[in-house]
Point group: C2
């Protein structure tokens, strides 16, 4: 299924996403302390009401609101103070008309009470008597026992990413073990006869393995786990063997490197010969990143990545990151990653039909507005990425942009 | 040094930042694999040139550019092919005028060569002879040996956060051990007679500890390490003891909870009695989060946090996160966190002089534009945070905003 037509980025991504098999995503049960950033694999229904009892939201007196109806400075209501409510203790006193209890913020309301008046709206007239100068409505300054979360309510649905506040809510409900989706695992196979490990000296003609380190960082940012399969020569048999091993050990396989035409064809051949449906696209109308290969082998997505560091970034951002999101079990698409508005410092031209991803550095003009300056330099240079604060995309249907135009910068 | 005036948020933060002692930040040496997201504690100078040899950026023939000057379809230049350059191998052949070598992308240029012509711009006329139909400039299709990074050059300065690409560059230079700043540690002391652990049943009058879980997540997002000191009753001696212990064990101390006036005063007293300068502000013109206490004790920042979950978020975002960034050793302020443009669904009023942080949920209208809907509900409810996609800030000098107005949403 080798298709040599260069397709556009949206169509390429769609081919992969439409062919993904999400039924193979597995779940695991973990402790709440480990759940930050994980994706829920079960619907969470509340086992109880939260807070579980009517609580005061102020420091004051718990009372029956009817007793205050019509109360004002000139004709206050008088209530008998029957005692103090302690924090954290069940209140067993009941109050009746004309009575009240002193209650701290967060304290439990006694039976009978339906509102709390703040200290500052009362006057002590006797040891056990207050004057109330304000009319309260029912439930004023009170959180009802089921006002935050009701027993039996769906609190968090399956597929929901757990942010700090979701974890807080789980703690509040006493749910300290939960089912989440396993983190996707991603194999990186580094190829190239010239590539040596980062720990090795690089002789003339050799370069150290940069891409498996940048990829590892990008993979971790997606909440996935990296398996480095090692560095392999551009030889068919060992490459096919490690590709088969990687497929069995991980949820997604990246073959990195292979800048020459020969190795790209070998990668495509190995993908096609290992399983179905094989290569779904070979070459995308995107710059940098044109030589990208994408496919699915036995339900698992695989990518043959271009060798240039900048192309790695754009390929990851545009293709691998969305695929990893799906594989992580996220059910809902959240809002997009926000961008920073800036003025582009330089006119740029682009080829129609090709999506251009321009690395930019940011600075500010005298008025504090952001200026995005395109970073010149070949996409093979890692320095262009170190200097970059983000990316500006020229969409496929556009022919470029003019200096001074407002652009959206997606920050790294 | 107790100051009961409610100050504005910028002034409150400035008081803490100006009093911070950043000389106490320590460094540690780690492996490159553990360096993602860490902050460099040393200047990195390049130990060598990168790539270290002149490389071809295309598949083609390495040649002497002068040999192609004036070459075109109608009067091609003829070059003798002296052999093949292999990837990853030092080239010891030298070429002279009229000669060339076949070279793959990434291959090393032979001595004498200064440009590479792509295969598609040549014709093979004999077994060892090509026809060149294009004039090449010097260094065309070549990355020079020091074009990416020069030996002795400052590659990454001290205080720089390490993103995926910086780690890639370190790998490329063979730097696999490096000095980074230690992650800041943050103690959380949970207070409140009504608070029980998340693992306990909550009896009437009790609530489980939500805030230490939301705080832990926020602390981790800042790259810091949480130390949970446990849950303490509102009693002076044990609270002072754990505060002193927390100060000695961590770089920043948070006292969470204590919604009642009594415990807030006790927190301020303990901060003032434990060391200098003590409380720097007590109460901020911000909503939610007004009762925040901030101070420095023996060079370490400490905060007394309001008890409401929403107030915790705003306090963290506005005060603790910027302080943690400084403590992490970041030297440069990067661009701000980008916001999403949305239309506010509802008019909101605000008190002059108070900064209001409004929780909003996002949806899209029929044209795909984002609508930010303010989430109603008391700030004590964790559900308001679960429903929220982000925050809209009404600045202190504004009196509110009108429905339909464009707002900036800072996503959680």
């Amino acid at each position: 299924m080798l298709d040599r037509t260069y397709i556009n980025a949206q169509e390429a991504l769609k081919r992969i996403l439409d062919t993904l098999d999400l039924t193979i995503i597995q779940a695991e049960t973990i402790d709440i302390e480990d759940s930050y950033g994980r994706i829920l694999a079960e619907d969470i229904y509340s086992p109880e009401d939260l807070p579980g009892f009517d609580r005061s939201t102020v420091d004051g007196y718990a009372l029956i609101s009817e007793d205050t109806f019509g109360a004002k400075e000139t004709s206050p209501a008088y209530l008998q103070v029957k005692g103090d409510i302690l924090m954290g203790v069940e209140v067993n006193i009941e109050i009746t008309r004309g009575e009240c209890l002193r209650v701290p913020t967060g304290g439990m309301l006694p039976s009978g009470a339906d509102a709390v008046i703040m200290f500052e709206h009362t006057q002590r007239v006797k040891e056990d008597m207050i004057e109330v100068c304000k009319s309260l409505s029912k439930y004023e300054n009170v959180i009802l026992h089921d006002e935050d979360i009701k027993k039996g309510e769906l609190v968090l649905p399956k597929g929901r990413p757990l942010r700090s506040q979701e974890v807080g809510a789980l703690a509040g409900l006493g749910i300290t073990r939960l089912k989440v989706y396993k983190r996707p695992t991603v194999s990186i196979i580094s190829t190239g006869d010239e590539i040596v490990p980062a720990t090795s000296p690089a002789k003339k003609g050799q370069v150290r393995d940069i891409n498996s380190f940048t990829l590892d960082g990008l993979i971790r940012q997606c909440g996935a786990i990296t398996i480095k399969q090692g560095i392999f020569m551009d030889e068919y048999e060992p490459l096919k063997a490690v590709f088969t091993k990687a497929l069995s050990e991980s949820d997604l396989v990246l073959i990195s490197g292979g800048t020459s035409a020969g190795i790209k064809d070998m990668t495509a051949r190995i993908i096609n010969e290992t399983g179905q449906p094989g290569v779904l696209f070979h070459g995308v109308s995107i710059k940098p990143g044109k030589p990208l290969i994408g496919g699915i082998v036995n339900h698992k997505p695989v990518f043959g990545l271009p060798g240039h560091p900048a192309a790695i970034f754009v390929s990851f951002d545009t293709f691998i990151s969305p695929v990893l999101k799906r594989l992580s079990g996220i059910a809902v698409e959240g809002p997009p990653v926000p961008t920073l508005k800036a003025t582009i410092a330089k006119s740029l031209s682009s080829t129609a039909g090709r999506e251009d991803h321009i690395r930019v550095s940011l600075s500010r003009d005298t008025d504090g507005r952001y200026i995005a300056t395109p970073i010149l330099g070949k996409s093979g240079l890692i320095r262009t990425l170190i200097k970059a604060d983000g990316i500006v995309v020229i969409e496929a249907h556009k022919l470029g942009m003019d200096a001074g135009q407002e652009v959206d910068v997606r920050l790294f």
